[in-house]
Structures are given as structure tokens and as C-alpha cells.
């Protein structure tokens, strides 16, 4: 009788330890899955931004529009700041908790005098912040991702179009 009880105790002890292991690993793998989704969100947000019709470089006529990938039209970018701010509810459904900005890498900000007068801008306006929604309750983690892209200036030297080298920075926040 005592032997049977001993065997049962050992059996249940092993069962409990096994279950604890299983629960711990499941919790860890769930956390990893959540992190993965979070990283994917940062990539998707960057891809979405560079492909938004509100920003993307386009050519041609109304009937036949040609889009240029990984390219942001500077005149659209300037107007988009106001557009994003006035339609915050719409964009917050798309970009969730994130901060999106665009900066110019080449030419140097100090060498864009003609561009500033054509666009009525200043060197201090870079980086241009498009969207910002940081969780009010704080955040557990933040993933900043930088994406190289082209910035199209079709205004300053019109009819010639110049392409600058820019960087899109997407910071995605994981709320607490």
C-alpha cells in the first residue's frame, strides 16, 4: 500500500514538473510570436508608407499613371504632413502606435538653398515628421527601422526632375 502511494506521488510529481515545463515554454513561445508580429508590423508600416498614393512618385496622365517604387514625391510629402494631421483617426487605424519621419541624406541639408526657396521650407524642417502616436500609458518596447528611398523634386529645377537620397524612419511602439 505504502509502495503504491509512493509510486503515485512520484508519478504526479513528474506530471506536475512536466506541465510546468510545458507552460513555461508555451509562454515563451507566445512572447516570441508577439515579438515577431511586432517586428513584422514595423516592416509592413515602412512598406505601406512608401507605397501610399498620398506620397508615392507618379508619372503620366490620369488615364495611364506609372508609379515609381521606393520613391516619395517631395511636393506630396509637404502636403501630407497636414493631411495626416487632419485625418488622424483614419491614419491611426493604419499605422497604430508608431512614429514616421522622412529625412534627406544626399544632398546635405545645407546645400538645398534652391529647394528651400521653391518649397518654402528651411533646413530646420528636416526630418519631416508625418505621423506620431506614442502610447499614453508608456511602451514595453520600440523598434526603429530605417529604409533608404528616393525623394523626387520635380519643382525646384522644373522641367528637370532631381532625385535625392532619403531615409524613411519608422519607430513602432509596443504598448504596455
Amino acid at each position: 500500500m505504502t509502495e503504491t502511494i509512493g509510486v503515485l506521488i512520484v508519478f504526479f510529481f513528474i506530471l506536475v514538473i512536466g506541465f510546468k515545463f510545458y507552460a513555461t515554454f508555451q509562454a515563451l513561445s507566445l512572447k516570441e510570436r508577439a515579438d515577431e508580429v511586432f517586428v513584422q508590423q514595423s516592416i509592413q508600416t515602412a512598406q505601406m508608407v512608401s507605397e501610399l498614393p498620398e506620397l508615392q512618385c507618379t508619372f503620366g496622365t490620369e488615364e495611364a499613371v506609372v508609379e515609381k517604387g521606393s520613391c516619395i514625391d517631395l511636393i506630396k510629402l509637404q502636403k501630407a504632413q497636414e493631411l495626416f494631421m487632419n485625418n488622424n483617426d483614419y491614419y491611426s487605424d493604419i499605422f497604430l502606435f508608431s512614429k514616421i519621419s522622412v529625412n534627406v541624406t544626399y544632398p546635405d541639408k545645407s546645400q538645398l538653398a534652391d529647394f528651400y526657396s521653391a518649397y518654402n521650407m528651411d533646413a530646420a524642417d528636416w526630418p519631416i515628421e508625418l505621423y506620431s502616436r506614442i502610447p499614453a500609458t508608456g511602451y514595453k518596447a520600440k523598434i526603429p527601422t530605417k529604409y533608404p528611398l528616393l525623394l523626387m523634386d520635380a519643382v525646384t529645377y522644373a522641367p528637370q526632375t532631381k532625385y535625392y537620397f532619403g531615409v524613411l524612419t519608422v519607430e513602432v511602439y509596443q504598448p504596455k
Binding site: 514538473i17 515554454f25 516592416i43 521606393s70 541624406t105 533608404p148 535625392y164
Partner: protein
């Protein structure tokens, strides 16, 4: 009978331990996944980088793109025949422009210094290849893009080393 029951008990214990070990092994295998995420981010950055570098307007001849300079470099065999930009031929100018204006301000400052190489591979009997960054042996993520020219295809490569 008693001996048989004991063996059955041992078998149950071994089974339970094996199931536990399988979970541990499964978890260890899943831990490899972050590498794939990193790879995905690098491929995305890589393609965008190559495309944006090639289309950027340079000050040479009032607005030639890097792609124009690379094509000129591939198609003309002698430096004196090539486009001259601020006393450099198209090949030397393209290399200096890409290195100083793009890579030194982007990948070098984003934590990728010493872990990437950017290569412009010209067709045989054409210009000397342009190499920016470090060339290493070992595992790497390759991103390739081809530019057709009259001298043959120019391959633009960006490698990220792990």
C-alpha cells in the same frame, strides 16, 4: 505480475521524460527563427538601397544619375573617353560619390559597418569592379540587381554578412 507492473511504470516515466525533452528540443529549434526576421529586414533594406543609389541625381553634368555614370563606365574602355566629372572619369566619380555621400551616411552609421559589401561588377574587358565596404568569407545575404548596357550586363551586388 508485479515485475510487469513495475516495468510498465518505468515505461510511463520514460515516456513522460521523452515528451518533456521533445518540448525542449522543439523550443531550441524555434529559437533559430529571429535569423529569418533579420534576413527579411536586410533584404528589404538592400533592394531599396541599390535602387535608391542608382537613381540618385549627382552634380555631374548638371544632373546625371549614378545609373548613367555606371553605364558610361561600363561602355567605354578608356578613361579619357568616359564622362568627366570634376576632373574624375565616370568610374572614379561614381565610386567616390556612392561611398562618401551614401554609404558613409547610412549603413556605416546604422550599425552595419564591417558587415556589408557593395560591389558593382562590370562585364569582362570593361572597367575595374567598384568595391565599397568589407569583403569577407562566410555566410552572407546576397542582393543582386542587373543593369543592361551595350558592353553587357552590369551586376550591382549588396552583401550583408552575419
Amino acid at each position: 505480475m508485479r515485475a510487469q507492473t513495475e516495468i510498465l511504470g518505468i515505461a510511463v516515466v520514460i515516456l513522460l521524460v521523452s515528451v518533456g525533452l521533445l518540448f525542449v528540443l522543439g523550443y531550441a529549434v524555434n529559437k533559430e527563427k529571429p535569423t529569418h526576421r533579420e534576413e527579411f529586414v536586410k533584404v528589404e533594406i538592400g533592394y531599396n538601397m541599390i535602387f535608391a543609389v542608382l537613381e540618385t541625381t549627382t552634380p555631374c553634368w548638371g544632373g546625371l544619375s549614378v545609373r548613367d555614370l555606371v553605364k558610361d563606365c561600363a561602355e567605354k574602355n578608356f578613361p579619357e573617353d568616359r564622362i568627366q566629372c570634376f576632373s574624375q572619369d565616370s568610374c572614379a566619380y561614381a565610386e567616390a560619390f556612392i561611398k562618401e555621400n551614401i554609404f558613409q551616411k547610412t549603413l556605416d552609421t546604422w550599425g552595419y559597418q564591417d558587415s556589408y559589401s557593395f560591389i558593382i561588377d562590370f562585364p569582362p574587358y570593361s572597367a575595374q569592379d567598384i568595391v565599397i565596404g568589407t569583403t569577407k568569407q562566410g555566410e552572407r545575404i546576397p542582393i543582386n540587381y542587373q543593369i543592361p548596357t551595350n558592353a553587357g550586363d552590369v551586376t550591382v551586388k549588396l552583401y550583408f554578412y552575419s
